[in-house]
Amino acid sequence: MTSAERGGTAAGGPSELAQLAARSGLKKVGSRPGLPEYVRTLWARRHFLWVLSTSRSYSRNQNNYLGQLWSVLSPLTLAAVYYLVFGLLLDTRAGTTNYPGFLTIGVFIFMAIAASMTAGSTAVTSNITMVRALDFPRAVLPLSVALSEMLTLLPAIGVMIVIVLLTGEPITVTWLLLPVALVLILLFSAGCAMIAARVVVAARDLRNLIPVAIRLLRYVSGVFFSIEAYAGRFEWGFVLEYQPVAVYLTLMRSVLLQDVAVDPTMWLTGLAWAVVLFLVGFVVFWSAEEKYGRD
């Protein structure tokens, strides 16, 4: 809002109207609140965030006869297709003992993260009418995208657990870590959504690169093959292993599959990625708060 200030001071000192406003104790609209103030208003709007997220993931499946049943059916059909292609036709089973379980976890979790990034990138631009009609902290938009993708993931997690059990995995204590892993994934995707939303507002052409980036991520994150088994051959294989998406897939697998060990370094890496991306994303998004809504 630098030009706005210029308008007021061009004639030397604040304009007559600005002085009148100051005398009557009026507040200037549309200036960006400080970070603590922003967090406070965001917290006050948490119910709005929640309702927006739930209605978004609910209305997605409301338009056909089977309705909400599709929240379970679509991940199920997707898992079957992937198993057919990668398990039977291409056979990328090397280094895994329970490939159906391995694949299901990979596909579902990756899908949720990718969906957050895709929808997050247009969180502001596709809700522009709302931005131009209602006053709320704009971070609600990318955050609700991440949250609603997480809510959509929950039925898929149910399907995932059934598949894992059917393939003969026992229920162990490590299953207790499932919610922790989900929270980390949520924080990470929320951070990605906020960054993507901010970047696309600044340079909307970059939106077209997001599907490309996601495709790349899909192939380097070990969605349908074990990174350890394939990338271990390269010197820089550890880069692949410790990039965030791969970390979260590994975390989920170590929770549910017996042959993937729970590795503390992996969990710390996952925690670090989540916290860093969320905080950076939040600040990056907030820094342009007063600019959203222009186009």
Binding site: A133, D135, R294
Partner: protein, 286 residues
């Protein structure tokens, strides 16, 4: 919102005497310099950035090559700025209701968005006392969800808490007057019913400054009367109301002051009846 622009140009308001005699009286108070300002608009400019289109720059003297170059520029890197509001200044006071008139595309909606702080100004500033809200809750509503659910979404979108929405739920449904339809998805509503529900939701939270952008045009006579009462109520609480309407009669009935905007600039600002008379004369001629 834009769709209503052309469809409801001149909607007649039923004569309603108790509202009628209030307006001139308030106009007299206008001269009173002691009233405190509630909204100060200081030389505001607003620009839109538009992608995927470019205004044609052509003249008879333009060469063939330039013309061809220009044509191709319409498809690659086509970004145009629309200068929608060009240096508007005015002061509004507590208890005042101001009609904003002007042709389609004059910049009325954009100006309201800027006052509500929803559209960044490219220069100039807007100062407001207290909370302001643009009657634009429809942007948050989900047509595939029930009216009941939408009351919650809309209420929260306006900044109410869930408890406050629940508390006011019956009043909202009563005010909207849509009965059992509250349990059906909003896409099953007629446009008038949807407008009633939207108005009911948006006025459930009473702001200090309320802005209404052609939201009343779709209602029936009964609803228009109810909304006029609601506007009076807000003004009674020392609030300020901005009303955009193409119906000069409703501006005269509900506002004591009017601002006429043309091409993003103020043409005239003064007592509602004078300004609407001028506007009528100007539009008849053109």
């Amino acid at each position: 919102m834009a769709a209503t622009d052309d469809a409801f140009e001149e909607i007649d308001f039923e004569d309603d005497d108790d509202l009628d005699d209030g307006a001139p009286e308030r106009a007299k108070q206008d001269a009173d310099a002691e009233r405190t300002p509630s909204v100060v608009v200081d030389d505001v400019h607003v620009r839109y950035r538009v992608f995927g289109g470019r205004k044609r720059v052509s003249g008879p003297e333009m060469g063939r090559i330039r013309a061809m170059f220009n044509r191709s520029r319409r498809h690659v890197g086509a970004v145009t700025e629309v200068h929608a509001v060009r240096g508007v200044s005015f002061v509004a006071h507590h208890g005042e209701s101001i009609g904003i008139i002007g042709r389609n595309g004059a910049g009325k909606s954009t100006l309201l968005r800027a006052i509500a702080g929803l559209m960044p100004t490219s220069s100039g500033a807007v100062y407001v006392a207290g909370t302001s809200s643009l009657l634009g809750v429809n942007a948050a509503l989900v047509s595939s969800l029930t009216g009941e659910r939408n009351v919650m979404i809309g209420g929260l979108a306006l900044g109410l808490t869930p408890a406050q929405v629940r508390e006011r739920f019956d009043d909202i449904v009563e005010f909207a007057g849509i009965g059992d339809f509250i349990d059906l998805p909003m896409k099953a509503y007629s446009s008038g019913m949807a407008a009633r529900l939207r108005f009911a939701i948006s006025t459930a939270a009473v702001p200090d400054v309320l802005m209404i952008d052609e939201a009343l045009a779709t209602g029936d006579a009964e609803f228009r009367e109810r909304s006029a009462k609601k506007i009076e109520e807000i003004r009674g609480h020392a609030g300020t109301v901005f009303l955009v309407s193409h119906s000069m009669r409703s501006i005269e009935r509900m506002c004591d002051r009017a601002i006429w905007i043309e091409q993003g600039q103020v043409v005239a600002d003064g007592p509602a009846r004078e300004i609407t008379a001028e506007y009528r004369k100007a539009t008849k001629k053109g």
